[in-house]
Symmetry: C2
């Protein structure tokens, strides 16, 4: 059974300040908890039904709590979860190298957690495991982000950093979506580079335009003024991968 203190602890992690303080985050739902258990994240706690616990690999988990569906439904941020919930240890915000023959995403203030989660899931589908994000981008460890990734949070690495400085130190091609650029259906993306995705409302920051080496455009056949940021990411990824 979940104690009052643990329920309070899990609920506190819905708030970024407490996640930062505790260096912990919540994972909800059977599929996402299984992905967490199979990942290299340290797992602090698993609360789940007896049925789930019987099948899960719980080695190294400090605190395993058998819980009823009703208890689980009440504790998380999502009402539909009645099977499993876990608390993982956050990883440090550490940089990584992007190889010359590798693609990575760069997110310029993607503020909507659902969009960020969907972008992470899409990147994972297309074999892109590295994402560089501005500090104004939604928090990777937000419950809605984690849930929207559908488990891909365990495979995709995200590094928060000021983007101007990042681009200054980079020698990669930078692809950025603009209204007038090269058609993504015909451009040669080459073997690697950075795909810069602009903010949901204002697109790519004016201050970052000078770092874009290749302006690209997703052809429009109808009337909508723009595409959702996660949708644009997917269409670009599909086009750059098909060329391989």
């Amino acid at each position: 059974m979940l104690s009052k203190a643990k329920i309070k602890f899990v609920k506190s992690l819905q708030i970024k300040k407490y996640r930062k303080q505790e260096q912990c985050f919540v994972v909800e739902g059977a599929k996402s908890v299984l992905e967490l258990l199979n990942s290299d994240f340290e797992v602090v706690m698993v609360a789940a039904t007896a049925e789930f616990l019987a099948k899960a690999s719980l080695q190294g988990v400090a605190d395993v709590i058998e819980s009823t569906p009703a208890e689980l439904a009440g504790i998380g941020g999502f009402q539909t979860n009645e099977t499993a919930l876990a608390v993982g240890k956050m990883k440090p915000n550490s940089s990584f190298a992007v190889a010359e023959d590798e693609f990575a995403l760069v997110l310029d203030d993607i503020r909507d957690p659902g969009n960020l989660g969907t972008i992470i899931r899409t990147a994972d589908w297309y074999g892109i495991q590295k994402i560089i994000a501005s500090e104004e981008t939604a928090d990777f460890y937000n419950s809605k982000v984690i849930t929207s990734t559908m488990g891909s949070f365990a495979r995709v690495h995200l590094f928060y950093t000021p983007l101007s400085e990042y681009f200054q130190d980079s020698s990669h091609r930078v692809f950025g979506a603009y209204l007038k650029g090269q058609d993504v259906h015909t451009i040669d993306f080459g073997k690697g580079g950075l795909i810069l995705i602009g903010n949901e409302s204002r697109g790519i920051s004016a201050g970052l335009e000078k770092f874009v080496t290749d302006k690209i455009t997703i052809p429009r056949y109808g009337e909508a003024e723009s595409l959702n940021a996660a949708i644009a990411t997917a269409v670009i990824c599909d086009n750059l991968k098909r060329g391989w």
Copy 2:
């Protein structure tokens, strides 16, 4: 100024039952309200700042109310709207013909309003103006759907109907995404047909599989198990349009 009765009326339209009763729906935000005013929807009410009203074309609007940003922020479902809000008249749920050389989407229980709105916006970008939806699909007139379409609600027609019956009466090719199907990068989509998009959790209903004439697959280059429904729609649309 917005009267208490009008605030109550607008707020009631957040609930489907009252939308149905009043045959009215809410549109929030400057861009979406402008799209509504430029559409063939009947506009019952516009509440907006003096600045917005001075620029908008309000011919035929029964009720125009000058409002302060604070009033507008308090009334809608989205806190960021401080400029304009409108009430439109719902259109009847009427069917339409899909031509032989036209593509339309068919939605099999897309339950998430954000996904439905994003699908409508994406369809509009790709020049697809007709969507057939199962009756379990989210309500087109839900505020979150309308907002997520970013104005495309005014151009894309959605018809709710039981899908089995619809397919029985149709002679179109039906493309459906499965794990093992023809690669969307190489399949010939031809000149027209129906693109069937499955539910977020369970994909395409088992009962509809017999109507699918062409099983298709979005190639995967990484590890994610699936793509978000709106993302899959976009990738399919991008591939079928590039062939034209």
